[in-house]
Amino acid sequence: MSETEGVKDTLLSVDKIPDVIREKALEIGFSDQDHLFSIRADLDLDGKAEAVWLVVGKTHLAAIGLAAIPVMVCAPIEIASIQKVRSSQTVGSAFLQVMVDEAYVDVVRYTNGQRELFSRACLEIKNLVAGKPVHPHALTSPSESFCPKCGLPLPGRKADCPRCKGHGGLFSRTLGLMKPYKWSIALLFLVMLIGVTLDLLPPMLTKMMVDKVFTPSEGTTILSHADSIHLLLVVLMILVGASLGRQLLNILISFITSLIGTRITKELREQLQSKLMGLSVEYYNRHSSGSLMSRVLYDVDYFQSFVAQVAQGFLVNLMLVLGIGAMLFVMNWRLALLVMLPIPFVAIGTTYFWRYIYPRYYRLSDSQSKMYQLLGGLLNGIRLVKVFGQEEREKKRFSDSARYMQDTLRSLQISQGIFNPIMGFIFGLGGLIIWFSGGQMVLEKYITLGTLMAFLGYVGMFYGPISSLTMFSNWLTGFLSAGQRVFEVLDSHSFLQRTKDPIRMPKIEGGIELRNVVFGYDPYTPVLKGVSMKIEPGQFVGIVGKSGSGKTTLVNLICRFYDAHEGQVLLDGVDVRKISEEDLHRQVGLVLQEPFLFRANIAQNIAYGRPDAGALAIMNAAKSANAHDFIARRTSSYDTMLGENGAGLSGGERQRISIARALLCNPRILILDEATSSVDTESEQEIQKALSVVCKERTTIAIAHRLSTLKNADVIFVFDDGHIAESGTHDDLMTKQGIYHKLVMIQTKLTRLET
């Protein structure tokens, strides 16, 4: 398998260009002196898998295909004639394109596996077009998404390679989790050993009873009736004692395994939760909250069952098989060999069963989760369903989902229903063989009836553990995949780089500067394309622009939810990457368009960022955010318990609580990301009134679509396609008659239409 396929093997240095390509390049006007770099793409323009070479010289670039004879994929284009360069993503592949004569021309096409390489090439060609220095060595620097050593994809950018980091096997790591409980485990082992010994006792006692009491064989001392009754009672007492002892040991085993299992799962859950809190926002973009919840809630449970399976399943069964096997061979090796006859059938049957039936368990869990999702969606969107009159359709959808679950469950139960009797028959067959051969031996006086009875007793106990042991490997597969998912989170390295000596900034003044910042959520598609801006402490700044122009991305960088790929974000002249996280997050307040409220009372929601805040401080924050009066009108005022995400409050009320929450922390920088765009005009006016007071003495950045709210801003930045297209005060921008002016005119017309 191509496990080592990675970016590394797609990079070739200049001197490795095939001779035919070099010759062709020379033929069409390139020279060795002129040549800057060449890289190989893996598709031709029609999407056929072909090696196509992008040859970039100081004055021209071209693409040459390496077919039977070199073919021109893109004729030489003069660098001077190139207006723009881009990497254009399509479905499943991408093109490097250059704009010539106001139209984009395809130069080379490549699969997504080469995106990183060509996005770097694109950057270098841009430098070339702009007359800036070109750094061909940048093309060969290690990939951030794939392991430079083995080429395996990394769980996140710059994360550790799951293979090369060598965390040790999952199994040994799980055993490592049990280290603190080694004495409990040793006790468990001892108890199990005693338990298995007790399990082996009854058939031997049965033998004694039959041979000494019921059918004493020739040559043995015949006991008197009274002695026989006495021996019978003694044996029965021992059997009762063994059975009672076994049950007590079972209780002890359950107690110890449950103690170890529940502690391990609790600790693992805590570790996972703590890890999740530390991971960056970028990690949450890649993983759905559902999948993470499932890891914390369900996958961790496998670790508890791991302890139970290993202790009560695997080890006990192994000990039983070994113990019973030894007893059988000691008693009669010929019969013991016959006992082994059904084992291959049991092993094959169980393997077959698990191989083909086990996936149905997955499907069952999938069908359950799909049904939950459907029902969850339905209940959350019940008003929408009713308003569009789609109740019948939703009934049918749910019914289909329920049928899927029913079919999956039925198929699973039928399979089990068929498998279990077949296995029972095979086990029974094993017993019948012993009845036949053992019976013959008894009749021929080769063995005693007691030996046969004991043999049959052991046989009855023998096949069950064999079958369980065969299933254990399959159970282990499920555990391994769940364990993998849990350790994947624990090993995750998606935090923002932490500086070793963070700079403490107990009081930020509020000056913000961006220096040539480039950033994109997909590293190959920048959202901010070289943004530079400066905000003075205490300024009220407006950010305007169309959706997708980069406004919220700017906020994400200032809050340091992400780090810029290039350039710097500075607060009071200090790079945000160097500022202590605690100081940064304490002094930057964020109010979002869709405020999130926790299921708690109003006071707890306001004091979320400052849990120690007193009642008066909470009320002051609420009053400043114009929320106090509506809270006071509630029956339980600040103690009013809120439903899920603030259910029971209007949009404006929720928003004002979230503003109060931000204000209580007295942030030096307050960011309002469309904070008033989803509330009605009256609420907006009230919020604006509140903001006009609280925004004083702190730097405020307001992103807004309603431009009237930014009229008094000290400066307004107009974003367009990842750049700052315009900046200035409202009056400046109106005089400029650019994008801002156009937007204001449109809104004015709309307002007139509305009135």
């Binding site: 398998m1 499943g92 106001e102 139209a103 997504n112 596996g113 994809p153 996936p359 994947e488």
Partner: protein, 186 residues
């Protein structure tokens, strides 16, 4: 008004503000300089560097083709939508199909030979429908990496974000289907 007439009336209303339909009588499609696709619409501009995108790539792969271009501000704009590709001349169809071929790069899987699970990744060995060639690829074992494709199909997105399609999982050979659904069971 019945529900049906209301819907028709509404559709007519929406057509006035909706997508522009490109019809053969008013649209000329040809290849121009740099082999770029050109599109001239009667009463409108001549567009260069045009490309085609399917609006319903799974349900209607031969219909509803949006013709688009990138303007001088690097913004993608739509010229209009071709409702049915077959309405256009053979030559125009050929050009549009070539453009579509450039927009979609997807491998169709005809057989799943083996799947191995290692390091949280699935290592696939498959046979591609195009030329029956074998191909190895690896993908993360996660829901996001195997998405729905129509009613019964799946799109597998490998670690490099390349796309592999199984148009109908139920049409795979029984053993392949079992192997596939053991891992991709959702």
């Amino acid at each position: 008004m019945t529900n049906e007439t209301t819907a028709t009336y509404q559709d007519e209303l929406l057509a006035k503000t909706g997508v522009r339909r490109l019809t053969p009588d008013k649209t000329k499609i040809f290849e121009g300089t740099f082999s770029l696709l050109h599109c001239a619409v009667q009463g409108d501009n001549l567009y260069r560097g045009v490309f085609a995108v399917l609006m319903f790539p799974i349900r209607h792969p031969e219909q509803f083709v949006s013709l688009r271009y990138t303007d001088l501000e690097d913004k993608e704009q739509e010229i209009g939508v071709i409702e049915n590709l077959h309405d256009f001349s053979e030559a125009a169809q050929k050009l549009i199909r070539a453009s579509l071929k450039k927009h979609y790069y997807e491998q169709i899987i005809s057989r799943v030979i083996s799947i191995e699970d290692k390091f949280g990744l699935l290592f696939f060995k498959v046979e591609l429908a195009d030329g029956n060639v074998e191909r190895n690829f690896m993908m993360r074992w996660s829901y996001n990496s195997a998405e729905e494709f129509g009613e019964k199909g799946k799109v597998l997105i490998d670690a490099h974000e390349n796309r592999y399609i199984i148009p109908d999982v139920t049409k795979l050979p029984a053993a392949d289907q079992r192997e596939f659904t053991s891992f991709i069971y959702w």
